[in-house]
Subunit: 188 residues, 4 copies
Amino acid sequence: MARPRSEDKRSAIMSAAIHVIASQGLGAPTATIAKEAGVSNGSLFNYFETKADLLNQLYIELKADMAAAALDELPSESNIRKQMLHVWSHWLLWATSCPEKRRALVHLGVSDDITSDSRQTGRDALAGITKLLERSRENGPMRNAPLGFIVSMVDALADATIDYMINDPANADKHCMVAFNAIWRMIV
Amino acid sequence: MARPRSEDKRSAIMSAAIHVIASQGLGAPTATIAKEAGVSNGSLFNYFETKADLLNQLYIELKADMAAAALDELPSESNIRKQMLHVWSHWLLWATSCPEKRRALVHLGVSDDITSDSRQTGRDALAGITKLLERSRENGPMRNAPLGFIVSMVDALADATIDYMINDPANADKHCMVAFNAIWRMIV
Amino acid sequence: MARPRSEDKRSAIMSAAIHVIASQGLGAPTATIAKEAGVSNGSLFNYFETKADLLNQLYIELKADMAAAALDELPSESNIRKQMLHVWSHWLLWATSCPEKRRALVHLGVSDDITSDSRQTGRDALAGITKLLERSRENGPMRNAPLGFIVSMVDALADATIDYMINDPANADKHCMVAFNAIWRMIV
Amino acid sequence: MARPRSEDKRSAIMSAAIHVIASQGLGAPTATIAKEAGVSNGSLFNYFETKADLLNQLYIELKADMAAAALDELPSESNIRKQMLHVWSHWLLWATSCPEKRRALVHLGVSDDITSDSRQTGRDALAGITKLLERSRENGPMRNAPLGFIVSMVDALADATIDYMINDPANADKHCMVAFNAIWRMIV
DNA sequence: TATGAATGAGGATTCATTCAT
DNA sequence: AATGAATGAATCCTCATTCAT
């Protein structure tokens, strides 16, 4: 009935879900997640009404986590490029240092179980980044394109870059900068 | 001497799979695909050893289909920008005019059932596009980045653009051009 | 805290398996066994990991059951012939009075699903009988033959005798004695 | 419709069935047998109406084959013990030198697909052996036991002996004689 | 007659969810 | 609330048999 008593247990389930989904995909049994969390399978359904519910909440939390990481310690006094670079590199840093979260998020992102509400909430969490992008492209060649379109493009490029950084960690920083400069050429 | 194994039936199953996977995802029962193809569920396994086999073959065919569409009637005499634009717009045209193929391909792309062999075959099919990209960025700011990285970025941007075009068909052409110009700024 | 896994249910499944296998052979669906046991088909797999697991456990239990019946109330003070006769007649009595157990055991005995571990466990259960045979043949003509060979022969004769007793119940006791005397001539 | 044109093909199927059943058991697909025989799966059903039909015919042929081997070159002039020994050793020789036939026969012997008619036919094939046994026990301690019972016992002992010979080929001849002498003590 | 594709019932097993304890 | 046993629908795949060629 989704009436969690212990916040600890809820987050244990979330963490377990990240781990299990990262390695087994969304097909992973809820029982596996529960066991990984040190909780009985029946208990899982005290915290999440259905598996889909768990998935949606996880999606939202991961998006928020990612956004928080990206916006953490934002140097709001610096010029826009510096701020954008800060966000970009923290974003990618989050993804490369929490590869399981990122992998889980990729799985969730394409799942039909994630509702459009959840997706919207996910986008909302990125509002801070969106704002920065808006200011960045203000006078650039894409000043008239829909902002959402630009966000999608940057998001897509982030994903591609992360993949590349993970596959070639030795040059991760270089790839990070190459991609950032590319984006900067795109939008300003 | 027996009823010959019919190519028609094989492609009926493929088409059905595209349709069914586009709407139900990879979890769709093989029986549903078979029925949609007008074939018994047992027959499906005459044409494909396992469901995973079907999925892999479908992935490869769709990738090839997409590449063929993109490279069709390539104006090889024109300058590189014109050729690239041709590829880009045909690519997106394919995706927006066969949205089911594209949706199925998205599902397949993230599936653990798709082997790395299949993925490599998929990349091989895009060799023509890769070549063009290589020439395009030859003297540009990304001339020293790994070519595979650039391909991934362009691929990612294509996906993002397609999504946007499908969501806002009225301005599809405009979005297509906006994205192309963005890419061009990125790489040349 | 949850419904405890019930020993009753496990043995209900075992009994059902005996009954169903006796009449339908090892090809009997697990669903049939489950239904006969008054349990859902899914539940059967809470008690036995696979059908083969069920079969192996059943084999071992039946062997043990048989051995226990044969050795029950063994008159250990009596001379060796009396003891052996006791075992022999109780053995055959078990088989003729639980024909389903015996039929199931015959099916199981030739199944490829029964592991050599299970077979060894089965033999171990018969250790008491083996001991008696060892003493019986001590000074007889087969004193130098491998003990295992003798056990196999006696086992085979038991099977043949049981068949005959079941087919001709009116003279069951007579057949039992005829066979026993034959064995006694063989080994002492 | 079981209207064989080519006797060659029929026996190819039989041989294939022996081989396949010996290694995979009765659960082996008819398609596997057909392929092993170099025949299409459809063709198999021109020679045998059903799988059960094939199994029954195979059972009968193997029993006949075994009996023929046992009775081959029977020294009908010799005394009864010599004749019986001849039969016994040829019987076991057949089993140990055609282990696949023997294995297949063991599988078939316990199958519910084998009709009682087939079993009777199998016994009829052993008539020659039965005759010898009848003469052998004529004045012995089992002179009043049902002849069929004695046949069953000897049959069972043969099976047990064969198993032992196959597992310990180095001493096969010794085991063969040990068992023969045991039988002789039993019946004469 | 020979072939092998087509059929579809059947079967073991999984798993989200419920519910007795 | 927590547990984990119970449920049974769902799914992939097999295989004896049929039938078009």
